[in-house]
Symmetry: C2
Subunit: 337 residues, 2 copies
């Protein structure tokens, strides 16, 4: 069963790992540097649905179908699914996963959801409360823009600090069995509010939370940044990543050689005009569940930290003058072979 | 550590229970049959805040403060908090709990959130991944009306099948120690969609999910309704409760003698003009964490099932013609003394 180490870190003890995963993404993502790594990309981001929200639900259905296809598993082989997304009342998850009939526990961690769902799935599986679990998330550029910012038709100019919500989804199957990689420890995040109020600069709002969680993990496990092949953050983007490196540096921790960010990896910054990079639950969802998992399987990556970050605000809270609290949840993951 | 029994039920094995809890509620709730049982009620539902959303956040802060006051615990004594609510991006929870700095895992189960957060807290605590956890939820009539239905100022007439969102919050502290009551087993819910599209009849949309979860629990544990003092549903209200009794009856299970519903208990149906009863995460949040917990402590209730229900829709999904999927999560709870 799981064991607490240090302040906020939990060590898994039963060989709990990721058996398989799948990441799917939209058209713009297919044109980016990771295009060839996704399990599927869609030419048309509507996915033959009638609305963007239904298309986003469809992304979750598709990601789960792909991971079932790869593993030969079916819905009845899964004891619990942990899923969440950015849409109001997390409808991408409830409608996208409805047809599977798997016991469902909705999660909300904003863009940290891929890490949060994997942490929940891993802890519950490691404790024998479930034998096999699923972690799923998604986001969609068009459903996010109209919910959080402006109608797409308005054609508003984007702030240079703004990020581009990824159209994509990720799904990972977790069991007590080192399939592709083992989840060694997890560190849960606290809500950290740096009092930033600009909803077009999420990277800055989330960087302190990432720094807090990564530093807590390193202290709890008595390890250093260079002990890892990669410290991968969720979607701080270019600006947030730079801030994270500075914040860590102030504490005497140089992560610049091993750090990368899903929001930096997924798009060509200039050619694709994405300003500060990718964002959204589907950003690290699709990047982790395809590109990163393939590198863990091939052995190119052996020992990584994955710390996704989320901004816990809404359009309403911003309109009411509230600041944007951030959160970051972390998994330490080691390749099996 | 937890053990799976039957199909979807998990048995807790380490004496995990609820140490203490607190329920707070608004003015209308203070005038209802349970008024005197709440730990605190507020004359003014704005709670001296500037917006209803901030007032709802405040309800969560207050519920946690009351449970800390009762137990002498402070934020640093809690390893993890599981919380969620109905507002877009669950802002009541993130802003209401921000100041405590407790590692935070946001949950979304719509009105089933009190049961979901207690299930997560109980499983994680029982497995030793945490020593002491907190489960929190809230809802607010005014923030819910304007988000899900119409601006209050519009003064629209309410459908007779509609329920009244409770202004209230609940917080419960869970540890491996039978404080007031022990959590014996939990059953997680599946998404059940009875294809109901009327957002003014949530009881009907959620009743099949409650029936599915309660029947699964009874089968998994080989028990009968009369083995329990009370089978308490979350907020099916008057119409949903009647449907649940009928659905169970069809399967040969008569729950009519032991069933009650938080949405029926909290208001005087006619005098308070609430039509089909109370609803919202704060309905079973405040009722369970005050009234029910007090009865478990006094020994008036000894052995109960608590099955909260949620409707996994949003205003957007309803406008897009989607049906309303329901979910229900259940805990079997036994008084310690």
């Amino acid at each position: 069963m799981p064991v607490r180490i240090g302040k906020r870190t939990i060590k898994l003890e039963n060989n709990t790992g990721i058996l398989s995963s799948a990441g799917v993404a939209g058209h713009k993502e297919s044109q980016g540097p990771l295009g060839k790594f996704f399990d599927m990309t869609y030419e048309n981001d509507m996915l033959n649905e009638k609305t963007w929200e239904k298309a986003e639900s469809r992304l979750q259905t598709e990601a789960v179908n792909y991971v079932f296809g790869k593993t030969g598993l079916k819905a009845s082989d899964i004891d619990l699914v942990f899923a969440g997304d950015l849409l109001n009342q997390c409808i991408s998850s409830s409608y996208g996963l409805r047809k599977f009939g798997i016991p469902f526990l909705g999660q909300y961690g904003a863009c940290s959801t891929m890490a949060q769902t994997m942490i929940m799935a891993a802890l519950i599986t490691d404790s024998f409360a479930a034998d096999r679990t699923l972690a799923v998330t998604s986001s969609h550029f068009c459903s996010a823009e109209r919910q959080f910012r402006l109608p797409l038709e308005y054609g508003g100019q984007r702030n240079l600090t703004a990020q581009w919500t990824v159209t994509g989804a990720g799904a990972a199957v977790i069991e007590r069995n080192c399939g592709i990689c083992r989840i060694e420890e997890v560190t849960t995040g606290r809500i950290i509010d740096p009092d930033i109020k600009d909803p077009n600069n999420m990277g800055a709002a989330m960087a302190p939370a990432a720094a807090d969680t990564i530093m807590t993990f390193l202290r709890d496990t008595k390890t250093m940044p260079d002990d890892y092949d990669l410290i991968l953050t969720g979607d701080l983007g270019f600006i947030g990543s730079e801030l994270l490196i500075q914040l860590m540096d102030r504490e005497g921790l140089d992560i610049s050689r091993v750090h990368n960010d899903c929001g930096k990896l997924i798009f060509y910054r200039k050619e694709q005009d994405v300003h500060s990079g990718g964002s959204g639950c589907g950003c690290c969802g699709s990047v982790f569940c395809s590109y990163i998992m393939q590198k863990l399987r091939s052995g190119e990556l052996k020992n990584i930290l994955f710390a996704a970050t989320g901004a816990l605000m809404s359009a309403t809270s911003s309109k009411q003058g509230e600041s944007i609290p951030g959160i970051s949840h972390l998994l330490h993951i080691r390749a099996c072979s």
